[in-house]
């Protein structure tokens, strides 16, 4: 159990949220020009690293808004949460 700071509602318990996977993956501008491998790379391949990772989260049982989170997957330390469309506060 850990506390997540929703950029809209404030601090809430983890059980109210759901994780939506890696963040900042850009959709290719011309999908028709991609090979099957490139398309599969965009669609399925995710980093899932041990360390600081950028993720999308949804406040499912609260405001139902999507936001981004910088989380260390090795110790669950949350470095920052920020709204969709905003630049990550940590590089």
């Amino acid at each position: 159990m850990f506390i997540i700071n929703c950029p809209y509602c404030g601090k809430r318990d983890q059980v109210e949220f759901s994780c939506g996977g890696e963040a900042h993956i850009e959709r290719p501008k011309q999908p028709t020009e991609l090979s099957d491998d490139q398309w599969a790379e965009y669609l399925f391949m995710r980093k899932n690293i041990k360390g600081v990772q950028f993720e999308r989260w949804n406040h499912t049982h609260g405001c139902r808004k999507w936001f981004n989170m910088v989380r260390d997957t090795s110790n669950d330390k949350i470095h920052a949460t920020y709204k969709m469309g905003e630049k990550p506060p940590i590089k």
């Binding site: 809209y8 509602c9 404030g10 601090k11 809430r12 318990d13 059980v15 109210e16 049982h61 609260g62 405001c63 139902r64 808004k65």
Partner: protein, 187 residues
């Protein structure tokens, strides 16, 4: 609201807790991110939609709850409000907002069931199965929180000291009602 059948129709009293189902009340969901939306709501309801998170605004007839930056829930405080007036309000909101693409107006009167909880131990009851921290919430009249109680999604509105309104989805209302009654009997 035409064939409204209350799922609970009950009122229970326990040691320092009183639980009532407050129905029928009109509940309308409002969604918009347009600038003119606030002034339109202000004109129709005489209340401005709150912009601060987890707060509400209201007058003697209606309460307007913040649900997210572009979503609000308006509900009638008057249980015995005339059915015609409710339809009129919905129509007015629909014509002024939905019809001219200023946002979305949805009547959710049958979607949410409203419980009123009163008494000194209501927060002891909720914290039995709710992850939300009520310390700041109970100090501030008009606070709103969307959270889970006994794994069920709820909206909680702090009316005044030790008096709160709890909205639960109709299909979960009986389950939550039974859980509340069961838990309250052990307090």
């Amino acid at each position: 609201m035409l064939n409204f059948n209350s799922p609970i129709q009950n009122e229970k009293k326990y040691n320092e807790i009183k639980i009532t189902e407050v129905e029928p009340t009109i509940k309308i969901n409002l969604r918009s991110n347009k600038r003119e939306f606030s002034t339109k709501i202000g004109k129709i309801l005489s209340i401005l939609p709150p912009t601060e998170a987890n707060t509400s605004s209201g007058n003697e007839n209606y309460s307007l709850l913040w649900l997210s930056p572009d979503e609000w829930l308006v509900y009638s405080k008057n249980k015995n409000q005339n059915f015609k007036d409710q339809i009129e309000l919905e129509k007015k909101l629909f014509n002024e907002i939905s019809k001219i693409n200023q946002g979305a107006v949805t009547n959710v009167s049958d979607h949410w069931v409203l419980f009123n909880l009163k008494g000194n131990k209501i927060y002891d009851l909720l914290t039995k199965s709710c992850p939300f921290d009520f310390n700041e919430f109970k100090k501030k009249k008009g606070s709103v929180s969307q959270t889970i109680v006994n794994h069920i999604n709820v909206i909680i509105h702090n009316n005044e000291n030790n008096d709160l309104n709890l909205f639960v989805r109709r299909s979960f209302s009986e389950d939550l009602w039974l859980w509340i009654n069961d838990s309250a009997s052990f307090l």
